[in-house]
């Protein structure tokens, strides 16, 4: 991670004007992504993880959106770029796959033609070569008999197959950054494993940087190198995958880790949960946004903590919690495992 990062996001903020007032969906997010690295953005619905990803692709631009901050893809700045500039980069250097493979393909065009269209939008290649290239891509993502399936329509494919087509399309111009927004959430577990293997292969063979947006910590443990945990529009903790799982510093992360139902553990008497629910976008609590659900809150939490290294060792392991490093290590153990104590029960 010593070389200049592939993608650098600085203080990204995204607000939407709605009937009930302005909603600040992303509130000062800064990230870096290197070549050959998978960065996972983890959070629950409404945490701003997808809006962050979509804003990098210029997909949140509209009359009712206010964007601020900067995002550099090598030399190109994405947030302030003109639509034309963005169109040149998007699909060619930065590509995205979406959660829902059922609605992300155009149902009235043949699958192959949709990939060819994407290739020819960016590269001056003749039809025959574009077709060959598209067929090779379909093979590469594991579609059997790719030559025959080239002329199929999306409805003739299963969900897993459509997601492969989406990946083939995203890869068609050899992007250096791939953004995957919940790429396996709609798929069965056995198919999920296959898709994750493809993404790993892409990272290892092509050296692409991958931003993986997900709510599934199992997927994170499987594939991510670094992780950013988002809550109510802000990153609350950021570090390597090892740090996040074995030395988590933010109480929200403890709660997430504690509340997963695991296939590899005996069933506890009760599944630990996080009390309450995420705050409404219109009415976020002042100071630390997690405060109302946090059993460890104290007076200082009324003041918003910055995202920084808080004396816990590694300089790149950042969090937003006022507790001291010692307190964090003491309090995150619940019954011998990492978790969030019940609200009111904590001292």
């Amino acid at each position: 991670m010593s070389a200049a990062p592939l993608l650098r996001v600085e203080d990204l903020a995204v607000s939407f004007r709605t009937e009930e007032g302005v909603v600040r969906a992303v509130d000062g997010v800064s990230l870096e992504l290197s070549r050959g690295e998978v960065l996972a953005i983890v959070g629950e619905s409404g945490s701003g993880k997808s809006v962050t990803a979509m804003s990098l692709m210029g997909l949140t631009r509209s009359a009712n959106t206010q964007l601020s901050g900067r995002a550099f893809l090598e030399e190109t700045e994405l947030i302030g770029a003109s639509d034309d500039e963005l169109r040149r980069v998007r699909g060619a250097e930065i590509a995205m796959i979406f959660q829902d493979p059922m609605t992300s393909l155009d149902p009235v065009y043949r699958v192959g033609a949709q990939i060819v269209e994407q290739i020819q939008a960016h590269l001056p290649v003749p039809d025959r070569e574009a077709r060959e290239r598209a067929t090779r891509l379909l093979e590469r993502v594991g579609i059997p008999r790719a030559g025959e399936r080239f002329d199929s329509y999306p409805h003739e494919f299963s969900g897993g197959m459509r997601q492969r087509v989406m990946i083939a399309m995203a890869l068609s111009c050899g992007p250096s950054v791939l953004i995957a927004d919940e790429p396996t959430t709609a798929l069965d577990v056995t198919i999920e494993a296959q898709i994750l293997d493809r993404i790993k292969q892409l990272r290892d063979e092509a050296g692409a940087g991958v931003i993986l947006v997900t709510h599934d910590l199992g997927v994170v443990a499987d594939i991510a190198d670094r992780v950013a945990v988002m809550y109510a529009g802000r990153i609350v903790e950021q570090g390597t995958v090892e740090e996040l799982f074995y030395d988590p510093l933010h109480p929200y992360t403890w709660g997430l880790l504690g509340s997963i139902a695991r296939v590899d553990r005996d069933r506890p008497a009760r599944l630990p949960s996080i009390a309450g629910m995420p705050p409404s976008m219109h009415d976020k609590p002042a100071g630390c946004h997690f405060r109302p659900r946090c059993p460890h809150e104290f007076a200082r939490c009324g003041e918003a903590p910055a995202l920084e290294a808080r004396g816990s060792g590694e300089a790149h392991h950042l969090d937003r919690c006022w507790l001291t490093a010692d307190e964090k290590r003491r309090r995150r153990e619940v019954g011998g495992q990492i978790g969030l104590a019940a609200k009111g029960a904590a001292s």
């Binding site: 056995t190 599934d216 997963i260 139902a261």
Partner: protein
């Protein structure tokens, strides 16, 4: 959840008749072609000769990938659809082909909670109307329905003042609580939960699972818990049934299924779930199944899993394996079972839950280890 370990196929308890029994249940959907003279050209084998039982107060987890027939099976036992073969019995009474009128009193006892908390509540009705509807249908007056509605709300962890609100004012987790309250309104004995937490965030999921747990304990409910993977069901089930392409592959006491899966499909499903622990995840060997489930219109011969199974041999292509019953009432339909010793294989017997079309031969005991 009930404490005593379940017996056999069926879970026939000491009190004799199980609450719900399905025997050799079959549901084939016709595929028709032609407008005026529509004729059947093929059949989707959604549920194919499935036998199981659920006792009062017990939770049966029903697991499988999309298209395996788990939801169809759940709807079939609730008699939301009529089976094309086999029998469903509730409290010993055959309801397989009961008419609308005959089913009406049973609807009190059999309820369902749906996967999508956004689509399963009428957006134009207030919560007290939604919760009161089943009560009114079964003859309660308006005042009784209203007071029962507020009682139900507090039972599922919502407040009384929520009764006057509309569904859009609630989050996904709260809506799922309302769906559960509606299912509880008529004091059922069995609730079929179709992926009740799949649409919810992790931190909310745990809250709903705990709520279901509490309700079962207080009210002695039986659950059929349908899920597409094996992680959440571990926390709720007493027994778990694994389905693939319309057939039961394995039925086992819950904990045992995780400690020693006998069917290679179960083992593949377990191995496919990524473990939320990077070191353990890296250390374990994962079986990544190749390909996708074949079409249920033309399912493979013999064992339906043989086209994707790493252990498949000639016999798997030719003979459908019967459900062999091992110790602890652990059933598995496989010619090449995993995690069982030669003695256990010799001690196994053909379960009465086996599909009628399955072979008579039980697995050969492994020659060594």
């Amino acid at each position: 959840m009930s404490a005593q370990p379940a017996t056999a196929l069926a879970g026939a308890g000491s009190n004799g008749v199980p609450l719900l029994e399905a025997s050799h249940l079959e549901l084939h959907f016709p595929v028709r072609k032609g407008l005026l003279f529509a004729h059947e050209v093929a059949r989707v084998h959604a549920v194919d000769d499935v036998t199981f039982a659920v006792r009062g107060g017990e939770t049966l987890g029903l697991v499988g990938e999309s298209g395996c027939g788990k939801t169809t099976l759940a709807r079939c036992v609730l008699r939301l659809i009529e089976p094309t073969g086999g029998e469903v019995r509730f409290s010993g009474e055959d309801i397989s082909h009961a008419g609308r009128r005959a089913l009406a009193p049973l609807r009190r006892e059999l309820q369902m909670v749906f996967q999508d908390p956004f689509a399963s509540l009428n957006p134009r009705k207030r919560i007290d109307q939604i919760l009161g509807a089943p009560l009114r249908l079964h003859g309660a007056d308006r005042a009784t329905a209203r007071s029962r509605a507020s009682e139900l709300l507090s039972r599922v962890g919502l407040r009384e003042e929520h009764a006057a609100r509309f569904p859009h004012e609630f989050s996904g987790g709260q809506r799922q609580r309302i769906g559960i309250a509606r299912a509880l309104a008529l004091e059922p004995r069995l609730i079929v939960l179709d992926e009740p937490v799949s649409a919810l965030d992790v931190s909310i999921r745990a809250q709903i699972v705990n709520l279901l747990d509490d309700l079962q304990e207080e009210l002695g409910l039986a659950y059929v818990f349908v899920a597409h993977d094996l992680s959440v069901v571990r926390h709720v089930s007493d027994r778990i049934a694994v389905m693939y392409l319309g057939k039961l592959m394995e039925v086992s006491p819950a904990e045992e299924l995780y400690r020693r899966p006998i069917h290679p499909y179960t083992s593949a499903l377990l191995s496919a779930v990524p473990i939320p622990d990077p070191r353990e995840n890296r250390a374990r060997e994962r079986i990544v199944l190749q390909g996708e489930p074949p079409s249920p219109i033309d399912p493979p011969s013999g064992c339906r899993f043989h086209t994707r199974c790493p252990r498949a041999t000639e016999v798997c292509r030719e003979v459908e394996p019967p459900l062999a019953e091992y110790v602890n009432g652990h059933l598995a339909a496989c010619h090449h079972p995993l995690s069982v010793s030669a003695d256990e294989v010799r001690g196994a017997r053909r379960s009465a839950a086996s599909p009628l079309s399955s072979g008579a031969e039980l697995p050969e005991p492994p020659t060594d280890h």
